[in-house]
């Protein structure tokens, strides 16, 4: 929890941009939450359970440090790990640590993928760290995270 507070205070102020025909909830002084609201800590535990989690440089996370548009942030994950029958990357989870629902996607692989590589685009509500959790077939998880500074926000 200490680290999260540090991140919160270290984050720069975000300029809220009104999109045509849409008003972000904060302008009306109501805080809208996702129906799937889940904090980072809750999502982390849900995904990892009691399994071991290690920081790993085998997981490459490519995400712009200053995304041009918080509605469309490209994320690319590449894991340097075999994809063999009994030893493979089973899942790749992308968590947006500060979105109302921190889960963005859970990608489940099989050895047929042959490479643990994944690309998609996510929405970030504000500047935050994005964390990738990689689940291996042996039960351990690898993790990596990157900070982003979002000036044009989403959801």
């Amino acid at each position: 929890m200490k680290r999260r507070n540090f991140i919160k205070t270290a984050v720069t102020a975000v300029a809220m941009v009104s999109l045509p025909n849409l008003v972000l909830a904060e302008d009306n002084e109501e805080i809208l939450e996702s129906a799937n609201k889940m904090s980072f800590d809750e999502a982390f535990v849900l995904i990892v359970g009691n399994n071991k989690v290690e920081e790993s440089n085998k997981v490459k996370l490519k995400i712009p440090s200053i995304p041009e548009n918080g509605m469309v942030v490209p994320v690319r994950v590449e894991v340097d790990y075999p994809m063999e029958k009994d030893n493979y990357v089973k899942s790749i989870h992308i968590l947006s640590t500060e979105n109302s629902n921190t889960r963005t996607i859970d990608f489940f692989l099989t050895p047929a993928n042959a490479e643990a590589s994944f690309k998609t685009k996510i929405k970030l509500s504000k500047s935050q760290k994005v964390m990738v959790l990689v689940g291996l077939s042996n039960g351990t998880f690898l993790k990596v995270e990157k900070a982003t500074k979002v000036t044009m926000t989403a959801c």
């Binding site: 009104s18 045509p20 025909n21 849409l22 008003v23 972000l24 909830a25 009306n28 809208l32 939450e33 996702s34 129906a35 799937n36 509605m71 469309v72 942030v73 947006s96 979105n99 109302s100 629902n101 889960r103 963005t104 996607i105 859970d106 990608f107 489940f108 692989l109 099989t110 047929a112 993928n113 042959a114 490479e115 643990a116 590589s117 994944f118 690309k119 998609t120 685009k121 996510i122 929405k123 970030l124 989403a154 959801c155």
Partner: protein, 112 residues
């Protein structure tokens, strides 16, 4: 009323052989409404409408699946890898929180 959404499966490279690893990119038309945004004109919340699950299979056998949440960008795209095992059909099925489904197929024709 079921909504028909356009989707595409793009395979790279264009020419490949059995045993090669190809890149599959799935793109689907979808607003991915989070249910947390108000329409400026109506002042009403745009109801949540987003893809929840996607399944990728080859000749009827699932090789990848995704649990998708509302934070994925509108008109989403997903790119993954796949090792070609022979001639056959790739099928991608997606469904959203309202039960609307999209199905797209693509024939894989590896070179000899």
């Amino acid at each position: 009323m079921a909504k028909i959404r356009r989707s595409k499966i793009k395979v790279k490279p264009k020419k490949f052989k059995v045993g090669d690893i190809i890149s599959i990119r799935y793109i689907v038309q979808h607003p991915m409404h989070t249910g947390m945004v108000k329409d400026k004109e109506t002042k009403k919340i745009i109801p949540a409408e987003y893809i929840t699950d996607i399944s990728f299979s080859f000749e009827g056998e699932e090789f990848s699946k995704m649990k998708v949440w509302e934070s994925i960008s509108a008109d989403p795209s997903f790119e993954l890898k796949y090792k070609v095992t022979g001639v056959g059909e790739i099928k991608v099925h997606s469904i959203d929180n309202l039960g609307n489904e999209t199905l797209k197929t693509k024939q894989l024709k590896p070179q000899k």
